[in-house]
């Protein structure tokens, strides 16, 4: 009886956790090989509160195919709030919102060739830094 109950609870927990784990693995934040940022910096970088890594100016870029997952996972906000936050930031501080790239390939290409670039993709390619 006990083992049946244990198996049942385990199955329910797994069912609840698996989508979260899968979701968490879906978005990887990457940066130019010469730029290192931590996972804790990601929110500040994409909201314009962290503009520099050392002396390097950061250039965040959005990924149209993953933006909703990224905003949910790293910034804990919907797209409307993200857009509104950038309107206020741009209007007050003269900052430019992250450029929108169409997908992983475009983000990886931009990050590899742009010093200070930070983006997010579905799986980490070689030749870039991964935010941890």
């Amino acid at each position: 009886m006990k083992s049946t109950l244990f198996r049942y609870i385990s199955a329910v927990l797994l069912a609840l956790l698996l989508p979260q784990l899968a979701n968490a693995a879906d978005v990887v934040v990457i940066s130019h090989p010469g730029t290192t940022i931590s996972a804790g910096d990601v929110k500040d970088v994409f909201l314009g509160d962290k503009q520099f890594a050392g002396a390097t100016k950061l250039v965040p870029v959005d990924n149209a195919s993953l933006q909703d997952s990224f905003l949910s996972k790293f910034l804990d906000m919907p797209k409307s709030k993200y857009s509104s936050a950038w309107t206020k930031k741009s209007f007050r501080d003269g900052l430019i919102p992250p450029a929108m790239k169409s997908g992983d390939a475009e983000v990886v290409d931009f990050v590899k060739r742009t010093p200070g670039a930070v983006g997010y993709v579905s799986s980490a390619p070689s030749g870039v830094n991964v935010a941890r």
């Binding site: 962290k50 520099f52 797209k79 857009s83 309107t87 206020k88 007050r92 003269g94 900052l95 430019i96």
Partner: protein, 369 residues
């Protein structure tokens, strides 16, 4: 040799084309509206405020970026005067140098960074929940009692501290004067920020220190601010007043709440008439909540301005008042909003001022692009 040159030119064409396509992004705000105002109940014979449709303002801003740490912010405003003619203004012209995340130094004409509202919303009607700004924080020619703009230097930045962020603004610029139009009913004075230079070489200095909370209090911002400098007027008496303003703001914008309050205390010194110092105050509190794009709000605002203080006595906008607002903002999408607002405004019976009151209904359609 020729073919090599041609080849390099051909290679450059796509790059030029790309640069041309990217250009400098143009952003802006536009609003149109409708208003109905009741007549002054204390003197119904007076014409009162105009009714009907109106074009609010077209605000255009650019943020060209340069290599390295130099950036600029340029803002142009087109709006109608109460008489219906078109007025244009170079609202902001700032050139900045960002030393680090903790320090950016700007030079030029900027939005004076006191309180919260003045820099957060300014001409961005679509961003703010209400149709009108709190009257005492409105623009110099629309009811404001403080310089909404400054020409000078402005340093600002953010520093991580604890779970949140410490923020600061420190600024110095041309002290405003009160331009008195003798052709208007007394007092006839409006703050002039003196874009072309300071008439009395007395800089105005200010600060704004804030803390943005993180964690469980994410969205909460507390701030203290101050502004000091001499203000002269154009009247025959040529009054000079040392403006001393200090204040505090609390803002909470999270979990669909919008709570904003700002308090301003004035202890101004009469430097030409020898009447000593005079105390006044102004504040507002606005509370709103967003329900899936629908944001009802209430606001109360009040000023108690000493009319023995020539800084207020010489300004058309210097009459004490009390206003209650009840409104609704409906976000049609991320870039467009419809707003409706009811106002009850009452102006005080003070030396040199006639009391008056009126009620208003305002509607506004505001977009950003």
């Amino acid at each position: 040799m020729l073919s090599a040159t041609m080849a390099s030119m051909l290679l450059a064409i796509p790059m030029l084309a790309q640069a041309d396509i990217e250009g400098v992004p143009l952003h802006g705000f536009l609003d149109v509206g409708y208003s109905i105002n009741s007549k002054d109940s204390t003197n119904p014979a007076l014409p009162g405020l105009p009714n009907g449709f109106n074009v609010g303002s077209l605000d255009i801003y650019l943020t060209p970026q340069f290599e390295g740490k130099v950036k600029t912010l340029i803002e142009l405003i087109f709006e109608n005067t109460p008489e219906g003619s078109l007025a244009t203004d170079l609202e902001r012209a700032q050139i900045g140098y960002t030393f680090s995340d903790a320090a950016t130094l700007w030079a030029g004409r900027y939005h004076a960074p006191y309180g919260y509202w003045n820099t957060a919303y300014h001409h961005g009607a679509q961003m703010q929940t209400s149709v009108l700004r709190p009257r005492f924080l409105d623009f110099e020619d629309k009811g404001g009692i403080l310089p909404a703009h400054m020409v000078g230097l402005w340093a600002n930045g953010k520093i991580r501290a604890g779970g949140g962020r410490f923020t600061y603004d420190a600024y110095a610029g041309n002290g405003p004067r009160i331009a008195v139009d003798s052709g208007l009913p007394a007092p006839g004075g409006v703050l002039d920020i003196q874009t072309a230079g300071d008439n009395n070489h007395q800089a105005m200095v200010g600060f704004n220190l804030g803390y943005e909370f993180g964690g469980f209090a994410d969205g909460l911002r507390l701030a203290l601010y101050g502004l000091r400098g001499d203000v002269a007027d154009d009247s025959p008496a040529a009054n000079i007043t040392e403006l001393n303003m200090g204040g505090a703001a609390v803002v909470y914008l999270e979990h669909d709440w919008e709570i904003m309050g700002e308090y301003y205390r004035f202890s101004d010194t009469d430097k030409s008439g020898g009447t000593g110092s005079h105390s006044s105050w102004a504040d507002y509190l606005q509370v709103g909540m967003n329900f899936s794009g629908l944001t009802p709000f209430v606001r109360v605002e009040k000023t108690v301005l000493d009319q023995a203080d020539m800084y207020f006595a010489m300004q058309d906008n210097g009459q004490s008042y009390f206003r209650q607002s009840l409104g609704l903002k409906y976000d049609l999408n991320q870039s467009a909003a419809l707003k409706f607002e009811l106002l009850n405004s009452k102006f005080a019976d003070e030396p040199g001022r006639a009391p008056y009151d009126y009620r208003s209904f305002l509607a506004q359609f505001a977009v950003r692009f």
